[in-house]
């Protein structure tokens, strides 16, 4: 149907055109306040984009907060190492009624050939160290150090000394402590790094001295093994020579 034929229809369909015209006249009129209300709505819509921009930022802020929380919770905890002016004293422990000297254990280490055992015992007994500044503990130090040097350099004896510190400490305190009031005071004990119990594998670290001792012992063991092998070979040679 081309345009010309359609133009003819416009002229021919008079009834239809009249009907449509009457329908349009009967349609509801546009309310007079409609445009005013529309302009008010347009003004509100103009202000809304600024809010929308702010509203669109909030999801990103929330996502950033969630990511920060996840990072905080998922990062591995740091070692509880607090450096104080005293040096390696890193943690405070509620003092027990008895004290065993760090110097005593060190004296035991020097006197014995089993530093490894001392290290493990140190690990097992975290409450063995006292502050070195008080006078009564110093006297105790000397006494325990003497005991350490007097005792034999055997693991069992060292174990006894280390495992029964409370008993010895009690005895020493009872016998020689001139100032029991000082000891009974609840002074905060400071522990070194090596006294913290090893609860996580990554905290188990050997000190340089321990590593040196371990190397030394390994070398000595190797030398002993070589000597033994030489003796065995000498014996075998003698046996074959005799035959």
């Amino acid at each position: 149907m081309n345009e010309d034929k359609l133009k003819d229809l416009l002229n021919q369909d008079a009834n239809l055109r009249e009907a449509i015209r009457e329908e349009e006249m009967a349609c509801p009129q546009m309310p007079p306040t409609l445009n005013a209300r529309l302009m008010q709505r347009v003004e509100k819509e103009v202000n809304q984009p600024a809010r929308k921009r702010i509203a669109t930022i909030w999801p990103w802020v929330a996502a950033a907060c969630v990511a920060a929380v996840l990072v905080i919770f998922l990062t591995p905890p740091k070692d509880n190492v607090i450096e104080t002016p005293a040096g390696k004293q890193i943690a405070e422990v509620k003092p027990d009624s008895t004290k065993v000297e760090e110097e005593g254990t060190k004296a035991e280490e020097e006197g014995t050939d089993t530093p490894l055992f001392d290290a493990t015992s140190r690990i097992a007994q975290p409450t063995l160290i006292a502050q070195a500044s008080t006078p009564a503990p110093q006297k105790q130090k000397a006494h325990v150090a003497e005991e350490a040097t007097n005792t034999a350099a055997t693991p069992t004896q060292a174990e006894e000394i280390v495992e029964a510190p409370t008993l010895q400490a009690d005895q020493t305190l009872a016998s020689q402590d001139p100032q029991p009031e000082v000891l009974t005071k609840r002074e905060p004990l400071l522990l070194s790094e090596s006294d913290i119990p090893i609860t996580r594998p990554e905290n188990l670290r050997y000190t340089k001295e321990e590593l040196a001792l371990m190397k030394k012992q390994a070398n000595e063991a190797y030398l002993k093994w070589m000597e033994l092998e030489l003796e065995i070979s000498k014996y075998n040679i003698e046996q074959t020579a005799q035959k």
Binding site: M1, E3, L6, L9, L10, Q12, D13, A14, N15, L16, R17, E18, A19, I20, R21, E22, E23, E24, C27, P28, M30, P31, L34, N35, R37, L38, M39, R41, V42, E43, E45, V46
Partner: protein
């Protein structure tokens, strides 16, 4: 203000240009919306949605493709269709699923629609209400607004040949409906 000035002002979001656009084209858009949407409250809401969309998307208007009036009517037509779909108003029309109107001859159509008769006019008015809203809009744009097939095709997002065939089909439907109403 001239149409080009109004369009330039709308691009700058000028309230004066917006007011001018409402005064010049408001009635035309209202007529398009009111003939497809009822009740009046819904028509008012759609009318406002149309102009808000016009003001927001004025930069998409291409003067080479269509006139500003046709572009406005296209937005109004699409908003009406969207509103009707949203409301899911499914009206049952007399010709639904029935293609018997194809048997009506062109002579019979011309006899019914052409010869001036006030009674027939009233019947045609009643028959128009039985047509779907999009067909009502098409015949109104053609017979009342005297728009060309190309313009109607742009408004309805169709092609002129489709509009021509739809017009022919709608005329036959009206005759069938009138015959049904007479009996």
């Amino acid at each position: 203000m001239e149409e080009t000035e109004i369009i330039a002002g709308l691009r700058k979001q000028s309230p004066q240009a917006q007011q001018q656009a409402l005064e010049r084209y408001g009635r035309m858009v209202w007529a398009q919306v009111a003939r497809m949407i009822s009740p009046v409250e819904d028509a008012e809401e759609v009318y406002q949605d149309v102009f808000i969309k016009v003001f927001q998307h004025i930069n998409t208007y291409d003067a080479e493709r269509s006139t500003f009036k046709t572009w406005l009517l296209r937005i109004a037509y699409n908003e009406c269709i969207t509103h009707l779909r949203r409301k899911r108003q499914r009206m049952i029309y007399l010709d639904d699923g029935d293609n018997s109107y194809e048997a009506i001859t062109e002579a019979e159509v011309e006899e019914t629609l052409g010869r001036p008769n006030q009674e027939v006019v009233q019947l045609i008015r009643a028959a128009i209400h039985h047509l779907p809203p999009d067909e009502q809009a098409i015949i109104t744009m053609f017979y009342y607004d005297e728009m060309s097939l190309k313009e109607i095709a742009f408004v309805t997002q169709s092609i002129p040949t489709t509009i021509a065939s739809r017009l022919s089909r709608t005329r036959k439907k009206l005759c069938k409906i009138i015959n049904t109403l007479r009996t």
